[in-house]
Every structure is written in structure tokens, then in C-alpha cells.
């Protein structure tokens, strides 16, 4: 790992979040405007930090930072090019899932700490949801790692030089996408934030100023991380003709990000009880089946 890798991850987080914010504007039918995004950020930063009457101060104020840290930790595991693989860890794919696991306490702290009844409801919803979807994320990671024989994301990318994993294990991709969308608080699985239904931004509705800006940044970095890891684990990462490796990875990441945001617009929010029931009755057993199928595929085609 280069000494500059942490700095590079920070830069990728900043510019990637900005790029995805522009993609979000396009998906919503508006013109991409980095200037507007910057202006909104400045306006937000000029607001004072909220100190609501009824809240648990430690939990409330620590939550945005924890959310951003977990998002950046997940992003650091994403391999962007053969020459830059983020922060290289041999078990990076599992560390990615572990980093995402810290989103759950961050969201719960935000909802519980804010002291709003509906924010508390949102916090418990997310807790229930992630209890069900944390297992599929880890198991699907294992399934896609099997052909590479390694949990290093770069090794998983390398094994896809001929065929992307999305074609080899489409069922794994089908299980992976709703799980990572849920953990990234993306519609239609945004049961913890649920604008309209939980008032404002749900668990985050009481944040203002710097904390609101941190939450907004963290959510986009989360999206960047899950989109990047989806591109790496399922779409062949940096592999592609003609264009530079890093550009291929960036394009695939933005395409996945746009697809996830688009899905959030064209589908109504899924109710929490249905999501939880789906997780325990289908996603978890199917993920175990995906591991078995991945083992069989590995024995037949990758050995």
C-alpha cells in the first residue's frame, strides 16, 4: 500500500461523491450542475448545528461521523485499477462487508439519538432490515470470491478477465443488489429515511449545518462504495477494451450508480415487513445456495 493511498481514497470519495450527485440530478430529470451542488453545500454549512431539545447528545452528534467513516472504510476496499487497488487487504472483500456493518449502528444512533418518534421507528426499521441483509452481503461476497480463490477484490477482478461474474453468477448479483441498496439507504429500500412517511429525512431529519452536510456526503460515498464494489465483483472491474483501466472502472461505477438511482425512482418504496420477510425466507437461504453453486462452478470451470 502506498503512503498516499489514504489521501487518494479521500480524493476519490470527494470527486466520486460529486460525480454521483451530478448523476443523481440527471436521473431526476435535471441538468447536471456541480455549481448548484457546491452552493447547496455552502448553504448547508452556513446553518448552525442543531441542538434539539429532546435528544441523546453523544449518539446524535457521533452518528454522522461514524456513518462517513464506515462509508470511507468500505470505499477504501474498492480496487480502481491494477496500479491502484485502494488500501490493499488480502481479505478486502470481507472487510468491505464489515465496514458496511458499521452503517447500522450509525443509522440507529442517528434515529434513536434525535428523540423524534418517527426517527426512532426508522432506526428500528433499519436495524431489523440489516439483521436480515448483513448475512446475504457476506455470503454473496464469499460466493463471488470462490472462483478467484481469494478474498482480495483485485484478485476477484483479475479472475473476470474473460467473463464478468454477472454472467457466471447472475443469481448472486440479483441477491447482492437489493442488499447493498438497503445498506446504502437507497430507494426503494430507504425505509430508515423514507421522505414523507417518516417526516423530512427520517432518521437524519434533525441534522443541520455541518452534520447535515456530513450525512449527505456519507450517503453519496456509500453509494460510490457499493457501486464501485459491484462493478469490481460482478462487472469485471477495470477490464475492457481500448479505454484506460481506471476509466473503465469509473464508467462502470457511474453506470451502476445511475442504475441504482434510477431503480429508486421507478419503483415505489418496499414496505419494511416485506423486505425483512424476503430476507429471512428467501435471501438468506438463496445466498447459502449461491455459495454451493459457486463452489460447483469453480470446480467445473476455474480449476
Amino acid at each position: 500500500m502506498s503512503d498516499f493511498a489514504p489521501l487518494a481514497v479521500m480524493l476519490i470519495a470527494g470527486f466520486g461523491a460529486l460525480a454521483l450527485a451530478c448523476v443523481e440530478q440527471v436521473v431526476a430529470g435535471a441538468r447536471p450542475s456541480p455549481v448548484r451542488i457546491a452552493r447547496d453545500a455552502v448553504l448547508s454549512l452556513r446553518e448552525p448545528i442543531a441542538r434539539p431539545q429532546s435528544y441523546d447528545g453523544w449518539l446524535f452528534h457521533l452518528a454522522p461521523a461514524l456513518l462517513l467513516l464506515s462509508a470511507i472504510a468500505a470505499l477504501a476496499m474498492v480496487p480502481w485499477a491494477p496500479g491502484f487497488r485502494g488500501i490493499e487487504v488480502e481479505s478486502g472483500a470481507i472487510v468491505f462487508a464489515a465496514a458496511l456493518a458499521y452503517v447500522t449502528p450509525a443509522v440507529f444512533m442517528a434515529g434513536w439519538g434525535s428523540g423524534r418518534p418517527l426517527a426512532v421507528v426508522g432506526a428500528f426499521r433499519f436495524l431489523a432490515l440489516m439483521l436480515g441483509y448483513a448475512m446475504p452481503i457476506a455470503m454473496i461476497t464469499t460466493a463471488v470470491a470462490a472462483p478467484a480463490g481469494s478474498l482480495a477484490p483485485a484478485a476477484i477482478v483479475e479472475v473476470q478477465h474473460a467473463v464478468p461474474m454477472a454472467l457466471v453468477q447472475p443469481y448472486s448479483l440479483a441477491l447482492w443488489l437489493p442488499a447493498v441498496m438497503a445498506v446504502a439507504l437507497l430507494a426503494p429500500f430507504d425505509v430508515a429515511t423514507a421522505p414523507g412517511e417518516l417526516g423530512g429525512a427520517g432518521v437524519f431529519s434533525r441534522y443541520t449545518g455541518l452534520e447535515a452536510a456530513l450525512v449527505a456526503l456519507a450517503r453519496r460515498v456509500l453509494l460510490l462504495a457499493v457501486a464501485g464494489m459491484t462493478a469490481a465483483l460482478f462487472l469485471g472491474g477495470w477490464h475492457g477494451p481500448l479505454l484506460p483501466d481506471a476509466l473503465w472502472m469509473a464508467l462502470k461505477t457511474l453506470a451502476v450508480g445511475a442504475g441504482l438511482l434510477w431503480a429508486g425512482r421507478v419503483f415505489p418504496r418496499v414496505e419494511n415487513d416485506r423486505l425483512v420477510a424476503f430476507a429471512w425466507t428467501f435471501a438468506v437461504p438463496a445466498s447459502i445456495g449461491a455459495i454451493a453453486l459457486a463452489g460447483l462452478t469453480t470446480l467445473l470451470f476455474y480449476r
Binding site: 431526476a28 430529470g29 435535471a30 448553504l43 452556513r46 446553518e47 448552525p48 448545528i49 442543531a50 441542538r51 434539539p52 431539545q53 429532546s54 441523546d56 434513536w112 428523540g115 423524534r116 418518534p117 418517527l118 426512532v120 421507528v121 428500528f124 426499521r125 430507494a187 426503494p188 430507504d190 425505509v191 423514507a194 421522505p195 414523507g196 412517511e197 417526516g199 423530512g200 429525512a201 431529519s205 434533525r206 441534522y207 443541520t208 429508486g264 425512482r265 421507478v266 419503483f267 415505489p268 418504496r269 414496505e271 419494511n272 415487513d273
Partner: protein, 420 residues
């Protein structure tokens, strides 16, 4: 914005205040809502305000109270009308070890969460509040309250500002009946067109709210586009270009209808909030094959070939289908009525808007009744079915998970105005 194209003014309507740069405020904001509007202003320092609210000192008066985010401004008011300090002490922190209460349906003892949703939310009309008690994520009890009173919080001759034109026509017909005057045929056709366009707009605005509670951005955007297409035609008398481009508005509504008829919509609404209360009126009743549409008795509407929209399931989906079909049919009726108004054809009579001894107009939420007042006195109003709809909505929410319950409540298209 009625009668104006926001795009023509360089404006792009957004889904909520948090995304807005400019707030166009009416010159008349009923007092129960004024403090919430002021709360929104204080929470959004970058928001520019255009309209009557500019001159009100509310922003300065309330700024200190709401900086940092008011739950009330976000549609949730834990202090109003409920004692949050008793059953669920949100101020003293959460004590997981102090959970008390009756066992819920699954046998677990849960601490109830009591709060008031409203009166300003993105999914219910301003002035409507739901007092809710949650058992976990399931609604244990719900009571819908309308906080605005016609003639008190608004203009004295407007019992319900959500449907001003229909009430305006009802009052005018009541006055004409009282005086024995017969309005010209052209005016009667224009009234039909105006009431129908208002119905279409009302149903589309309701659908936009329902889409927000569904968390469905695509449907919100389509409903918004349809509203923008229809709004320029609203008004009484009809705008000069009225009817000329209603076909474009009908096409916009057709796109919305396709989504409402689809499986994605059905997945969240089918079988939810089934209600066959005989006291309901308007589309809520017709969605359960109950009640009548008073337009069927109207000779003007019969001349236009009007047929009432009837659904049978009585659930949230049926109520939605009834309204979107009506929204589309209303534009067709308005187009035909405007054509007749131009040629002043038809033998319109006062009976067109009158049944029995009162003036009756079928509004977007049911019949609106106006009784002419004594000379110099005010007319009397009634809107049968509106209170029953609020009661039915509260009852239908019980036992549902909060998100489903909110969709069901929204599907009744409740009015925040008490008409008496």
C-alpha cells in the same frame, strides 16, 4: 400557480420544501398553518419567499424557536395534543428497561409510541393531522383531525379552500335559486368546465401526495407534469385559451393512469384499507360501488354523455383508480363543455346544478351542498361524507404497519376543512 405555467416563469416545481429555492406563499395562510410555514422558513435560510407571507413578521418571531430543526415543521408534532412525557418520554431519553404496557398481537409487551403526524406534511393536505399510537411499527390507534374551519380560518364565503371553484359555483347557484334568476347557458357550460378541471386538478394533486407516501419519485414527477399541463385551464370564467390544448393535458393524465393501473401500484395498494361504510361519499363511496354521483342527475352532464366511474373492491387501489379515471374523464367533459359554451348551445337551466331544495355540486370529494341564506345572511354549507371519510381513514389504519397505514389514510383524499 393556477392559470400560470411555472416553466414559462422560469420556475421548476419541486417535491418538497427541502429542495426549494423559492417559496411562493399565498397572501392568505390560515393561522393554524402559519407557524409551520414560518418554521419551514427558519429551517431554510437560503429560501427566498415571494408572496403575501413576505410581509408577515412570522419569520423573525419564530426564528429563535425553530433553529436547529423543528419536528413540527417536518410533519411530526409530538407536543401538540399528546402527552409525550407520559407513555413515551422522548425528552428524558429512551429507557429500554422501562418498557411497560399491554402485550401486542404477537405477545410482546411494547412501549407505545404516541405522536401527531401533521398538520404540515408532504403527504397530507396542510391542516390535517393524524394522532397515532404505534405498537412497534404497527398502528394501534389512529384518529384523523381536520384543523381548519371554513369561514373562520379562510374567506367567509369559502368553506373549503381545497375546492374553491366548486363551492363558488354552489354558492352562486344557491343565490340564483334564491332570487329566481336563470343564468345564461354559456355561463352554465363554463361552470361545468371549471368544476371538471378543478376536479381533475384535485385528483392529480391528491395522487402526487399519495405517490410521496409511496416513495415513488417517478409517479410524483408524472403527476406534477400533469398538474402543470392542466393548471393553465383552471379558473372561472374559463381562460380565453381554455379547451384549446386540453388534449395535451389529457395525454399527460393518460401517462399517469398507466402507472396507477400497473402492478407496481397494485403491490402497495391492493387489498389495503377496504372500506364499505355507507356514510362515505364521492369517489370513496363509488370505489366500493356505494353511493351515487349527483352528476348523473344533471341534464347538462347527461347531454355530455356522462357516466359515473364505479369500482367495486373498496380498497386503496380502487379509490385510486376511481380518481384517476375521473381525472381523465373530467378533462374530456371540460373540453366538450367549453365547446358548447363557445356556441352557447344547450338548454341549460338552474336545475342543472340543483337537486331538491338546495344547490348541489359534485365536488372532487363528494357532493357540496349550499343553502341560500336569508336576505343579507350567509349561505349554509354541507359536505356529506367528509367527516365519515376521516373516521373511516383512522379506522382503516389500525393494524397496519405505519407505511401501509399512511398510504391507506392518504388514499381517502381527506379534507383538512370542517364544513359546517
Amino acid at each position: 400557480m393556477a392559470g400560470h405555467d411555472p416553466a414559462g416563469l422560469g420556475l421548476t416545481p419541486v417535491a418538497g420544501a427541502e429542495a426549494a429555492e423559492v417559496l411562493l406563499a399565498s397572501s392568505e395562510v390560515p393561522e393554524p398553518l402559519a407557524s409551520f410555514v414560518a418554521g419551514e422558513l427558519a429551517r431554510s435560510p437560503g429560501l427566498q419567499v415571494v408572496g403575501g407571507m413576505v410581509d408577515l413578521p412570522l419569520r423573525g418571531r419564530l426564528l429563535g424557536d425553530v433553529v436547529g430543526g423543528s419536528p413540527a415543521a417536518q410533519g411530526e408534532d409530538p407536543h401538540a395534543g399528546h402527552d409525550m412525557h407520559g407513555g413515551h418520554d422522548m425528552h428524558g431519553g429512551h429507557d429500554m428497561m422501562a418498557i411497560v404496557g399491554e402485550p401486542s398481537a404477537d405477545g410482546l409487551v411494547m412501549e407505545p409510541i404516541d405522536f401527531r403526524f401533521g398538520p404540515v406534511t408532504g403527504v397530507l393536505p396542510g391542516g390535517l393531522a393524524i394522532e397515532v399510537s404505534l405498537d412497534g411499527d404497527v398502528v394501534a390507534s389512529a384518529r384523523v383531525r381536520a384543523l381548519l374551519r371554513g369561514g373562520v380560518d379562510g374567506p367567509r364565503d369559502q368553506p373549503d379552500l381545497l375546492t374553491p371553484i366548486a363551492w363558488q359555483v354552489a354558492v352562486a347557484v344557491a343565490a340564483e335559486r334564491s332570487e329566481g334568476a336563470a343564468p345564461p347557458a354559456r355561463l352554465q357550460w363554463e361552470r361545468v368546465a371549471a368544476v371538471e378541471i378543478e376536479r381533475s386538478l384535485s385528483h392529480l394533486a391528491w395522487l402526487r401526495s399519495l405517490s410521496r407516501s409511496l416513495g415513488w419519485a417517478q409517479l410524483v414527477a408524472l403527476a406534477q407534469r400533469a398538474i402543470i399541463a392542466v393548471a393553465p385551464h383552471a379558473g372561472l370564467p374559463a381562460p380565453p385559451e381554455g379547451g384549446a390544448s386540453l388534449a395535451a393535458a389529457e395525454a399527460a393524465v393518460t401517462r399517469v393512469r398507466r402507472l396507477v393501473e400497473g402492478r407496481r401500484f397494485a403491490a402497495r395498494t391492493r387489498g389495503r384499507g377496504v372500506n364499505a361504510d355507507g356514510a362515505l361519499a364521492g369517489p370513496n363511496a363509488r370505489a366500493a360501488a356505494l353511493g351515487v354521483d349527483t352528476r348523473e342527475e344533471d341534464p347538462l352532464y347527461r347531454e355530455l354523455g356522462f357516466k359515473a366511474v364505479i369500482e367495486e373492491a373498496g380498497d386503496a387501489r380502487a379509490r385510486s383508480l376511481a380518481r384517476i379515471f375521473e381525472a381523465q374523464a373530467s378533462l374530456g367533459l371540460a373540453r366538450l363543455a367549453l365547446e358548447r359554451a363557445r356556441s352557447a348551445a344547450g338548454a341549460g337551466t338552474l336545475e342543472a346544478f340543483a337537486t331538491g331544495g338546495v344547490a348541489c355540486v359534485e365536488g372532487p370529494r363528494g357532493p357540496l351542498l349550499a343553502v341560500p341564506g336569508a336576505p343579507g345572511g350567509a349561505a349554509r354549507f354541507a359536505a356529506p361524507g367528509t367527516e365519515a371519510a376521516r373516521t373511516a381513514a383512522g379506522a382503516a389504519m389500525v393494524g397496519l404497519e405505519w407505511s401501509a397505514a399512511l398510504v391507506v389514510a392518504t388514499s381517502f383524499d381527506l379534507s383538512p376543512w370542517v364544513v359546517a
